[in-house]
């Protein structure tokens, strides 16, 4: 589709661009009450984007001369990004940690990151892949270091920059190798070229694939490319930690699945099964090993943590591992299971982080042991936290359980990689140990008390709202699974 015609399908992104520009202008022009007004403009802009996304016409063609897809698949992820960004922006004025920072700039960067995420979910061109990842990364670097007076936040930002630069450089090298072999940056043309690739180039292809995997692995914090995660997550403002643990991770999965599925899928359709893009290299097994490592390392590091924030950071690595488990088999079920899990993970992880923010606001606590008796002081917050944690563990009747059931189903239905399913299931048991530790401190250690703590109604409301899907989809998940199933269509042909 020509560039001009494409604009009609690009309205949500255009709205975001307009929003970004107006936020810049508002930051410059406004003299007083900037944080508040920028906050309102941001939310209004997100609302407009949501409407435009909802009414976006469907097309079976790619836009901007094959650069971007407007398919149900990308739209599903865009909703995830939209919800995540909206929740974080709504919560930000009520986050004490951010007091003293220029919140209006912070909103601007959040929206910019979100724009990059939108592109990540729909890119069909290697150049756009790289550009969108960089847009997200640069915004995230700044946001991670947003607490300017906090040395740990600065450290977090610097580490993020160095790791990010290195891994995107490595990935760029892989992408350029791919371009060298295919003579095109369009993923469909790459796919067509790879099918007829002469045998002597297979080694190069394997190298290119692994290098690209490093880039994706960094984005979804896959072991052993996860080293940045704990430090960045700990140093960044908690709102940003929550955001980074959900939105860019989802985008990383969206992008990786699409690019790996289309460019390297030898058959050109999605039901590849146990995949081996390079003859002689069992790529499914490679991913399986990464998945097993990711969840095990994430879990065992999480056990040792004493700060809730760090614990959640490490556990988010483990969750990436669970999702990777399904990516071992590339078929519709696997894509569906990962998307389903991401949607649920969004709710439960954001919820858990919001509670952490709430506690930090109210008491200034970080250590798990400080949460003693919180369950009795603020049952309205602590009970949802319990639900989020049990959901993260994967216990019924919460949505986290259903998400895990689908992830495991992928492996079991394929009848392969039973060892990985076993590793995954044992990791779930391990994760109970540290998640239950927070629950223990909240409910088991304290004594009943009559004095109750309340927070700002907006925070309480957000937390309660996030528990609704976590419980509802644990008991009746047909609506969500239906949405996932109808979002599974994405381009498998060019132009």
């Amino acid at each position: 589709m020509s560039n001009f015609d494409s604009l009609a399908y690009f309205l949500p992104e255009l709205a975001l661009t307009v929003l970004i520009v107006s936020l810049v202008l508002a930051s410059v022009l406004l003299k007083s009450d900037r944080d508040r007004i920028v906050w309102i403009i941001s939310l209004a802009g997100l609302a407009v984007t949501a409407v435009l996304l909802a009414i976006q016409p469907a097309t079976d063609q790619s836009i901007f001369m094959g650069a971007l897809a407007v398919d149900p698949y990308s739209r599903f992820f865009k909703w995830i990004f939209l919800v995540a960004t909206a929740v974080i922006i709504i919560a930000s004025p009520y986050t004490k940690q951010l007091d003293g920072s220029q919140r209006h700039e912070y909103y601007l960067f959040l929206i910019a990151v979100m724009f990059g995420l939108f592109l990540m979910a729909s890119s069909l061109d290697l150049i756009i892949v790289y550009l969108s990842i960089e847009i997200v990364s640069i915004g995230s670097f700044i946001l991670a270091g947003f607490l300017k007076d906090d040395p740990r936040s600065n450290e977090s930002s610097l580490k993020y920059v160095i790791y990010g630069a290195l891994s995107s450089g490595v990935m760029l090298y892989g992408l350029s190798l791919l371009f060298g072999m295919a003579g095109s940056t369009n993923v469909f043309e790459v796919q067509a070229a790879l099918v007829v690739l002469p045998e002597k180039a297979h080694l190069t292809l394997a190298v290119a694939l692994l290098l690209i995997l490093v880039g994706f692995g960094y984005k979804i914090s896959m072991v052993p490319f996860h080293f940045w995660t704990p430090d960045v997550y700990e140093g960044a403002p908690t709102t940003i930690t929550a955001y980074l643990s959900v939105a860019p991770k989802a985008a990383g999965f969206a992008l990786a699945l699409r690019i790996l599925g289309t460019a390297f899928g030898s058959t050109g359709d999605l039901n590849i099964g146990d995949w081996s893009p390079v003859p002689g290299l069992a790529f499914g097994s490679v991913i399986a090993i990464f998945a097993a490592l990711t969840m095990t390392v994430g879990n065992f590091l999480a056990i040792q943590q004493n700060s809730v924030k760090r614990l959640l950071a490490y556990s988010s690595i483990a969750h990436a591992g669970y999702m990777l488990m399904a990516a071992v088999i590339l078929n519709g079920q696997a894509f569906g299971a990962i998307m389903f899990y991401l949607a649920i993970y969004l709710c439960m992880n954001l919820g858990a982080f919001l509670v952490t923010i709430f506690v930090h606001n109210r008491f200034g606590y970080d250590e798990i042991d400080d949460w003693k008796g919180f369950g009795f002081q603020a049952p309205l917050i602590a009970v949802p936290m319990g639900i989020f944690l049990f959901s993260l563990t994967g216990l019924p009747p919460t949505a986290g359980f259903i998400g895990k059931v689908y992830l495991f189903s992928v492996l079991i239905e394929a009848g392969q990689y039973w060892w990985l399913a076993l590793v995954g299931i044992l990791n779930s048991v391990v994760s109970l140990y540290y998640y239950a530790r927070i629950i223990k401190v909240m409910f088991l250690d304290g004594e009943p008390t009559d004095e109750t703590v309340t927070g700002h109604p907006v925070m309480t409301g957000l937390i309660l709202m996030l528990t609704v899907p976590v419980l509802l989809f644990g008991i009746y998940w047909t609506p969500l699974m239906g949405a996932v199933q109808s979002s599974l269509k994405f381009f498998t042909q060019g132009m």
């Binding site: 019924p396 059931v405 048991v429 088991l444």
Partner: protein, 522 residues
């Protein structure tokens, strides 16, 4: 009512728990009355169910089936037969009595009673589910209230006990989850329906790691169930959890939860994978015998009365396993005795152990300790090695009478209920595995040893002046113990009504499993 009665049974307590959430938490007394009302109603519904239950009918009764998640073929599918009927009754009865037992709970009563009702609903759900996914959900849902009930209202080591219980059972149930998914995906059409799976599961013909998939499924299910029973060597969570749990939770834990393991074996493992059930029958019998002797030997060594009762559960559940292993008996009468005995023993052990824990609780409430003999490392040096009580019979006649009946029922005295079911289990076991059963009878002797010795040390001998102030059973306590007493004596003298409920279903199960044994081997 017939089709919705089971749904009412399961969700009545949930309704009670939800009602509590909307009441102000300072009305402490209200919560126990709501809980008592909900469980009381549930008991009445269960009794109605018993009255209308057709003892001679084959197959499931009161079934109800509704689509739940069509894309995954999950159904809300419930029903009862002769195996689940006694368990439903047991759950309803013990839940009601456990609420009475908890009458003096003062710490956060709203949380306590609402969690208790959720636990009740989960247990009831397990016993009526006919869809594996539904079964699994209920099975897991129980863990959460149990964790909090032990962890928040338990004894000094409650937190450790709670997490140990939680981790152990979760480990078992995640293996069960894998087995469940394997059953689903390897059968055609994919289904969680436990009735259809009876036909389908045995046709699974896949190898994994050079082993038959059905074996692995059976073993995964077995570990899941074994942890609940608990079968040696998975039993180590049990003494701790029982001792630390508040009395009412111990009652439920020993009375109902342990039965879920053997229920799962009889409901899922045996009918779905009969060939494997036959293959592993010897292992089951062997583990049963180990349980009987190991549990009893440990019970003898205990100085804490509650720990002793906890270990006696391990021993008595071993008898259930031995009875179940009679499924391979070539003698039809032996197989029937074993299976019927096992199910009856599940029920009998439920009521007896509930009574024992209640009595221990009554004693502990007043005396604040429950040592038969003070341990050697007791904090007060002058008491070390001395008797904890002694001569209570003199001034606590009613308490002594109740305890005597419970203890004698525990050791299997004729004319009390456990005698019948234990005898039947042993007859069944003997008809299948002679030597093992003969070894197992040592357990009977050991059981008698610790019960009689404990009785002697606590109730007989010179009265310990220190405990002269103890009061005898109150009206409430008599009310909660009497139904159990009546059942223990009633079923001991006239067990036929109970056996009639069980027999048809067990006969069906024996036919089903024995059909896979080649004729030559019979």
């Amino acid at each position: 009512m017939a089709s919705s009665v089971l749904t009412i049974l399961v969700f009545l307590p949930v309704a009670g728990a939800l009602a509590m959430l909307f009441l102000p938490k300072d009305k402490a007394d209200l919560f126990k009355w709501i809980a008592l009302g909900a469980t009381g109603l549930q008991l009445l519904v269960a009794l109605w169910l018993l009255g209308t239950f057709d003892r001679s009918a084959v197959g499931m009764q009161f079934t109800f089936m509704a689509e739940w998640i069509p894309s995954f073929n999950i159904f809300y599918h419930v029903g009862v037969d002769g195996l689940s009927m006694p368990m439903v009754l047991l759950t309803a009865l013990l839940s009601f009595l456990a609420i009475l037992t908890s009458w003096n709970i003062t710490k956060a009563p709203r949380g306590y009673f609402s969690l208790f009702l959720l636990l009740d609903a989960g247990m009831m759900g397990v016993f009526v589910s006919l869809d594996f996914f539904l079964f699994y959900m209920f099975w897991e849902v129980m863990l959460l209230p149990m964790y909090f009930l032990i962890g928040m209202w338990g004894g000094p080591q409650r937190q450790y006990a709670a997490i140990k219980f939680f981790l152990y059972t979760l480990f078992g149930s995640v293996l069960m989850l894998l087995a469940m998914l394997a059953l689903y995906f390897y059968t055609e059409p994919h289904t969680f329906n436990l009735i259809i799976l009876i036909e389908q599961a045995r046709h699974i013909d896949v190898q994994l790691w050079g082993v038959d998939m059905r074996w692995l499924i059976w073993l995964a299910l077995f570990i899941g169930f074994a942890i609940k029973v608990p079968i040696f060597p998975f039993h180590t969570w049990l003494p701790l959890a029982h001792v630390e749990a508040p009395t009412a939770v111990s009652v439920i834990l020993a009375g109902v939860l342990l039965k879920m393991g053997t229920y799962g074996l009889l409901r899922i493992s045996f009918p779905l994978l009969p060939a494997e059930a036959v293959y592993f029958a010897y292992m089951l019998a062997l583990l049963g015998v180990i349980n009987i002797i190991w549990g009893a030997a440990n019970a003898i060594a205990q100085v804490d009365l509650k720990r002793m009762v906890a270990y006696s559960s391990v021993s008595h559940m071993g008898i259930v396993l031995l009875g179940m292993s009679a499924i391979v008996s070539t003698n039809r009468g032996g197989a029937e005795a074993g299976l019927n005995g096992a199910v009856l023993q599940m029920f009998n052990h439920g009521i007896i152990t509930a009574m024992l824990f209640m009595l221990v609780g009554v004693l502990y409430d007043q005396a604040h300790h429950r040592f038969i003999v003070y341990p050697k490392d007791y904090e007060d040096e002058s008491l070390r090695g001395k008797l904890g009580f002694g001569g209570l019979a003199g001034h606590l006649p009613i308490f002594t009478a109740f305890t005597a009946v419970a203890f004698f029922a525990g050791l299997g005295l004729p004319a009390l209920s456990a005698f019948v079911s234990e005898l039947m289990s042993f007859i069944g076991g003997f008809s299948a595995f002679r030597t093992l059963t003969i070894i197992a009878t040592i357990g009977i002797l050991l059981n008698a040893t610790y019960f009689l010795r404990a009785f002697q040390r606590i109730f007989q001998g010179p009265a310990n002046e220190k405990w002269a102030s103890l009061k005898d059973l109150s009206g409430r306590e008599i009310a909660m113990l009497t139904p159990l007493l009546v059942l223990i004596i009633g079923l001991g003298v006239y067990p036929r009504p109970a056996l009639e409920i069980i027999a048809v279903t067990m006969g069906e199960l024996i036919d089903l499993v024995q059909a896979v044994i080649p004729l030559a081997a019979r």
